[in-house]
């Protein structure tokens, strides 16, 4: 291990979210040995993996990469990025690679870049599955080949080993595919021999950047210092601070179990961790334990099987708002009836839902009796069918009823507030995650491919 703790500068919760130059300068001045950040997550849904696209716009990612690549090059320390391009599929990595190469050229840098790919061929996974190496995580059941075939893209979520190997081979910049947030941030400290439990725990605490601080809006990033027995965390903004509560509470975040975090090759157990205020801004943590397990990688697969078309109306008519639930039920029944009569069996196994925004759209539950009428509602119509064309036809068939549906059958037909023309919007496929499984491996590198771009070796295409 190096003399003293290993210091990792985590500039932001996600590449493109907005690294701050002054914070990065502060972290470098505090002696950071590496800059590490993830660049994505499954949180925003399956579309980004299924389509191989980023959630962040190109300009945001380029801006952050410019700040971080310049700082890392000036300080002579590595820049480590995981889950590139939001989903970490091969296309997401390549999109990020192109931006990084462009930035390097603009800054006159010649870094050695390691690209870590972890997207999987369907036939490869079928082979592992056939050999009994794939097992489900609750609530899903055993994997079948049809589910593998239904995925557009599948990634195996990497641990720190491919990063450690790339760092050991002299990478200046690592752009990884899908990786656990923690592995990206822990990799450098693990390479340098810091406490394994502290490395993983520090990485979990820092995974969302300033989220583990007292004022998350005031800091984009944090600095974690990992030693032989524990770690320290401090905000990169000198106005902000960490408290034992802000740090320990982050272990809870987006994690179904507050004490255990399963990672490739082991489990982080923080049951006995102790959080201590070190000074006004820093918190020290000790007692984190790493328990080795057989090596597994989690599989994430995204695909689409159905399509949607939507319409939106606004309603202020007090007669409708006096009994929104009854209006909803009668309109929904009328829309189904309309599709059966005008399209018939050709509509297939279609689905219509009406989301009453301003009333109960988020839950779908019935508000309790006596709930005051809202001032207005927005009604979102969502038709789902086996093809985009059919979803579109269903919406068009429903359009006049949706637009004019009366409260009383003998009244003049009302017209509700459409916002757009044409009123129906083809939303595209319904992207879903289809896998919640792990694959058991002998070797952490088995499903990973490393590609090098050495910009010191001349022009990159």
């Amino acid at each position: 291990m190096m003399d003293g703790p290993i210091k990792i500068l985590v500039p932001t919760g996600s590449l493109g979210a907005g690294a701050r130059e002054d914070e990065v300068r502060y972290g470098i001045a505090r002696g950071a040995h590496a800059i590490a950040t993830d660049a994505g997550s499954t949180d925003s849904g399956a579309a980004y993996l299924a389509l191989g696209i980023s959630k962040n716009n190109r300009g945001s990612v380029k801006r952050d990469l410019t700040i971080l690549m310049r700082a890392a090059a000036d300080a002579g320390i590595p820049l480590i990025v995981g889950t590139s391009g939001q989903a970490g599929g091969d296309r997401n990595v390549d999109w990020t690679r192109d931006i990084a190469v462009e930035v390097a050229k603009e800054l006159g840098l010649r870094p050695k870049i390691a690209l870590l790919y972890c997207e999987q061929e369907k036939e490869t996974l079928k082979r592992y599955n056939g050999a009994g190496k794939v097992r489900p995580l609750p609530p899903l059941g055993a994997l079948d080949d049809a589910t593998i075939d239904a995925c557009d893209h599948i990634v195996a979520v990497m641990g720190p080993e491919p990063y450690i190997a790339a760092l050991a081979s002299g990478a200046d910049i690592i752009l990884g595919g899908r990786t656990t947030d923690t592995a990206v941030l822990a990799s450098f400290a693990l390479l340098k021999g810091a406490s394994v439990g502290a490395s993983w725990h520090a990485a979990k605490i820092a995974e969302c950047g300033g989220q583990c601080t007292v004022s998350p809006a005031a800091s984009a990033g944090v600095l974690i210092s990992i030693g032989a027995d524990g770690f320290e965390v401090e905000p990169l903004s000198i106005e902000n601070r960490c408290s034992p509560e802000s740090v320990s509470a982050h272990m809870l975040y987006e994690n179904s179990n507050p004490f255990l975090l399963t990672e490739p090759g082991g489990v982080l157990d923080v049951t006995d961790a102790v959080y201590t205020q070190l000074d006004a801004r820093r918190v020290a943590v000790a007692g984190s334990v790493w328990k080795h397990q057989s090596y597994t990688m989690k599989l994430e697969g995204a695909g689409s099987r159905r399509f949607q078309t939507i319409m939106l109306i606004g309603i202020q008519d007090p007669h409708v708002l006096g009994d929104v639930d009854a209006f909803h039920d009668r309109m929904l029944a009328a829309l189904y009836d309309r599709v059966h009569k005008t399209i018939g069996p050709a509509a297939g196994d279609f689905h219509i839902s009406l989301r009453m925004y301003g009333w109960n759209a988020v839950s779908g539950d019935r508000p309790p009796p006596g709930t005051p009428a809202p001032r207005e509602i927005g009604v979102l119509f969502v038709a789902t069918a086996d093809s985009q064309e059919m979803a579109s036809q269903i919406a068009k068939a429903c359009n006049p009823y949706f637009f004019h549906f009366p409260v009383l059958m003998d009244e003049e037909l009302p017209s509700y507030g459409f916002a757009f023309s044409p009123a129906d919007i083809d939303r595209g496929p319904v992207y879903e995650f289809l896998l919640n499984h792990v694959v058991e491996l002998e070797d952490p590198m088995e499903l990973v491919r490393t590609v090098w771009i050495d910009m010191a070796q001349g022009e990159v295409a």
Binding site: G45, E245, A249, E254, N255, S256, R306, V362, D365
Partner: protein, 102 residues
């Protein structure tokens, strides 16, 4: 009639991967934590009633050092499905606030 919102200083919900949702209930001090964190009204049946959760897939983790309890359950429809109404589950906590702890 004590409701959850009367004894917690903060309640939040969030997706925990595409298949699970997790609720963090931060009680207002150690007494309220002690008195209410394992109240039967915060058990699996309530999550079945409010969210349609399978009671066998509801997990309950008290964290005394933070006076909080984390409750996680498998989503009845994975994130982003046909009937998705709250992609990140960030609004799911609201239905818990009025749960009565009698």
């Amino acid at each position: 009639m004590v409701k959850l919102k009367d004894v917690c200083r903060h309640v939040r919900s969030k997706n925990a991967g595409p298949y699970w949702v997790t609720f963090d209930l931060f009680f207002d001090g150690p007494e309220k934590f002690r008195d209410y964190h394992d109240h039967p009204a915060l058990g699996p049946d309530t999550f079945q009633r409010l969210y349609g959760a399978d009671p066998a897939l509801v997990r309950h983790y008290p964290v005394p050092s933070l006076n909080m309890v984390k409750i996680s359950h498998a989503r009845i429809s994975p994130q982003g499905g046909v009937v998705e109404r709250d992609m990140h589950c960030g609004q799911q906590f609201v239905r818990l606030l009025d749960v009565e702890l009698t």
